[in-house]
């Protein structure tokens, strides 16, 4: 991208592209002009600020979910469970194994 196009990109970033870049920033390092475009856009965009907040909440939430998985979460009373029939079948198979 030419320097002029980069400047144009920074000045004219729209919410859909800003959201895409903010999401990408969770997974990779943005290029300098991409970071600049998002920062400038965030100054005046309430929706994108809220989306950024959501992404942070989501990441924290997923991290918390993963950390809690090995203990009580997977034993919770609500959620999927093997049927009694499936458990019996597994026990039979494991008994042969």
């Amino acid at each position: 991208m030419s320097p002029w196009r980069r400047v144009l990109y920074i000045l004219t970033l729209k919410c859909d592209e800003s959201a895409r870049l903010q999401s990408a920033a969770m997974d990779r390092t943005l290029a300098g002009y991409e970071r600049a475009a998002v920062r400038l856009h965030l100054v005046s965009c309430r929706g994108c600020k809220r989306y950024r907040r959501f992404l942070l909440v989501l990441r924290a939430l997923v991290g918390e979910l993963v950390n809690s998985e090995l203990d009580t979460q997977l034993d919770g009373p609500i959620g999927h469970a093997l049927s009694a029939e499936s458990k019996s079948r597994m026990k039979r198979v494991l008994g042969r194994g």
Binding site: K14, C15, D16, E17, A19, R20, S23, A24, M26, D27, R28, R46, G47, C48, R50, Y51, R53, F54, L55, L56, V57, L58, R59, A60, L61, V62, E64, L65, V66, S68, E69, L70, Q73, L74, D75, I78, G79, H80, A81, L82, S86, K87, M90, K91, V93, L94, G95, G97
Partner: protein, 198 residues
């Protein structure tokens, strides 16, 4: 919870860990229409554990050991499913419908609580996000699961799914957009406001 190889009892494994492993597999595979596959993976996990029980040294809990075996099987299953669906693009694009014709948010994203407020409602949030993750289309769910839940790097996630980094980022973006809408509908504007906390 911990045990030595000598007191291995596969029947007890099924009773003590079966449901937990099943939930793990269901969540990682996407949750809808994957019951049979998840059950199969749990059984394969127990069989693999039985074969390799000598290698279980008791340094971790039995549950952790079984989950580690299941994790590898889940990744293999996702790889296989992704290959079967090669070229599908990972599910339809819902991100576009969040913006108007001027490419601005429509409607605006909700106001998400942070810090102590969110922490206080963590159990409900956990349930809501689990339910929303299960509603993701398979291609998006697999990308999100590998990258965010399993913590695989972008490079390895791409290899497992057989896709390019650009495609992975796109899937992750679409997954997050869908999760946002789902969580806002089910939690931020749903049960939560009914409880008078919004």
């Amino acid at each position: 919870m911990s045990s030595s190889p000598s007191d291995v009892d596969p029947g007890r494994w099924v009773d003590e860990h079966g449901d937990a492993l099943y939930r793990y597999a269901m969540q990682r595979l996407g949750g809808v229409g994957v019951e049979e596959a998840a059950e199969e993976l749990v059984q394969e996990t127990f069989l693999a554990a039985l074969k390799s029980k000598e290698r279980f040294e008791g340094r971790s809990s039995e549950r952790t050991w079984l989950i580690a075996i299941l994790r590898r099987k889940v990744v293999d299953e996702i790889r296989r499913r992704s290959r079967d669906r090669a070229g599908s693009g990972g599910g339809e694009d819902a991100a576009g419908s969040c913006f108007d014709r001027h490419r601005k948010w429509s409607p605006l994203p909700g106001r998400w609580p942070g810090g102590a407020e969110a922490a206080a409602e963590l159990p409900e949030l956990r349930m809501a996000i689990r339910a929303c993750m299960e509603q993701l289309p398979p291609g998006l769910s697999e990308a999100f699961s590998l990258h965010e839940l399993e913590g695989l790097t972008g490079e390895i996630s791409c290899k497992v799914l057989g896709i390019t980094p650009t495609n992975l980022w796109s899937r992750l973006h679409r997954a997050r957009m869908r999760l946002r809408r789902c969580l806002e509908a089910s939690w931020l504007h749903g049960d939560r406001s009914e409880r008078g906390t919004s």
